[in-house]
């Protein structure tokens, strides 16, 4: 679409493999909820007790947080900080970067521990990394596929959005 920018395109197949990985991570780490967020602030997938959470805000603030600490990292000569941990009174937040592209957010309380979360995030993070690397490769190969679903969007469709 634009130079140096590739859009993230997710199909059912990849979506369900991502969902099943974070589901396993949720169980093995004994955490409350897990979110996978694009670095630009868009929610990709979530599992666990997400009911009363504003997930869109969570995604945007997570991305802002990672972007700000990434800026700090560069300032002191680091490439990025790949793990962030925020400790609360009840709930804790563990953020980690996957394939430099997506952010894995784990929310956990005293039913789990930082050590356990770290360990499991490492294991399943590698799995996620594999999925996203394949996704990226696929996106690069298909980047100029002429047959397109969105090519069928009409001006009328667009106008209708703003009625």
């Amino acid at each position: 679409m634009f130079e140096a920018q590739s859009s993230l395109v997710l199909h059912d197949e990849e979506f369900s493999s991502i969902a099943s990985v974070i589901e396993k991570l949720l169980q093995e780490s004994n955490s409350k909820a897990i979110f996978l967020v694009d670095k630009d602030g868009q929610l990709i997938s979530s599992v666990g007790e997400t009911g009363d959470l504003d997930t869109t805000s969570l995604a945007s603030l997570t991305a802002g947080n990672i972007a700000a600490t990434g800026g700090l990292a560069k300032l002191i000569g680091e490439k990025e900080f790949s793990i962030l941990f925020h400790e609360g009174e009840k709930d804790n937040l563990h953020l980690s970067l996957i394939a430099s592209r997506v952010i894995l957010v784990v929310i956990f309380d005293n039913r789990s521990s930082l050590g356990l979360v770290r360990l499991r995030v490492k294991k399943w993070g590698e799995e996620l990394e594999r999925i996203f690397c394949t996704l990226e490769k696929k996106a690069r190969q298909n980047s100029d596929s002429p047959k397109s679903f969105f090519a069928e969007i009409t001006d009328e469709d667009i106008d209708n959005l703003f009625k």
């Binding site: 859009s7 997710l10 199909h11 979506f15 630009d40 602030g41 869109t56 700000a68």
Partner: protein
């Protein structure tokens, strides 16, 4: 960077409102927020100073409806306009799909507009993006004030390429939705051309 999710049938697009300090970026989002039906918007987040200057960003998620069975979601962001927040401003531009430049029409802010526009181009370039390649519109805000430059003068200075431009008075909402629609439309047309 757009995000197309075939599994949940969603398209997510990021719009950034850029412009000099106090030009009215946050006011644009506040107006859109007030005038959007509850089921079409999420919470508006403002990371601001105690004096209500944007510190990091404002964020407003909108879901406008469906196109070919896909929910279209727009994520609106503003940057902090004050010059010394450049590092934060740059971060917000990452992954942008469309840009709105909000100019302050007041004559004494002419230089500030030009500087901000140059800063936008520089910051985009650091990511390898080019303003000319992005969906992009300009809004001349604060048209209600007495000391404004003429539209002609502003347009000559800030819009040599003749992209869509709108006059506005953001607190009253004049021009606010026209601006948003114009950039959103360009973004969707772009998506159509990109071929997914």
């Amino acid at each position: 960077m757009s995000f197309i999710n075939y599994a949940s049938r969603e398209i997510n697009l990021k719009i950034v409102y850029y412009g000099p300090g106090l030009c009215g970026k946050t006011t644009n989002l506040q107006y859109i927020y007030q005038r959007t039906a509850p089921d079409a918007k999420g919470k508006m987040i403002s990371l601001a100073t105690e004096t209500e200057r944007t510190l990091f960003f404002d964020f407003l998620p909108l879901s406008l409806g469906e196109i070919k069975g896909f929910k279209t979601r727009f994520h609106l962001y503003t940057v902090p306009g004050q010059v010394f927040y450049d590092a934060s401003r740059k971060l917000i531009l990452k992954g942008v799909d469309g840009v709105v430049f909000v100019a302050d029409s007041q004559a004494e802010r002419l230089d500030a507009n030009v500087e901000s526009l140059e800063n936008l181009q520089d910051n985009l370039e650091e990511y390898g993006y080019k303003l000319e390649k992005l969906p992009y519109v300009i809004q001349y805000n604060k048209r209600d004030l007495p000391n404004v430059s003429s539209m002609d003068e502003l347009s000559k200075l800030l819009n040599p390429r003749g992209v869509p431009e709108f006059s506005a008075c953001a607190p009253k909402g004049e021009g606010v939705f026209d601006t948003l629609k114009a950039v959103a439309k360009q973004m969707l047309v772009n998506l159509k051309k990109s071929g997914h």
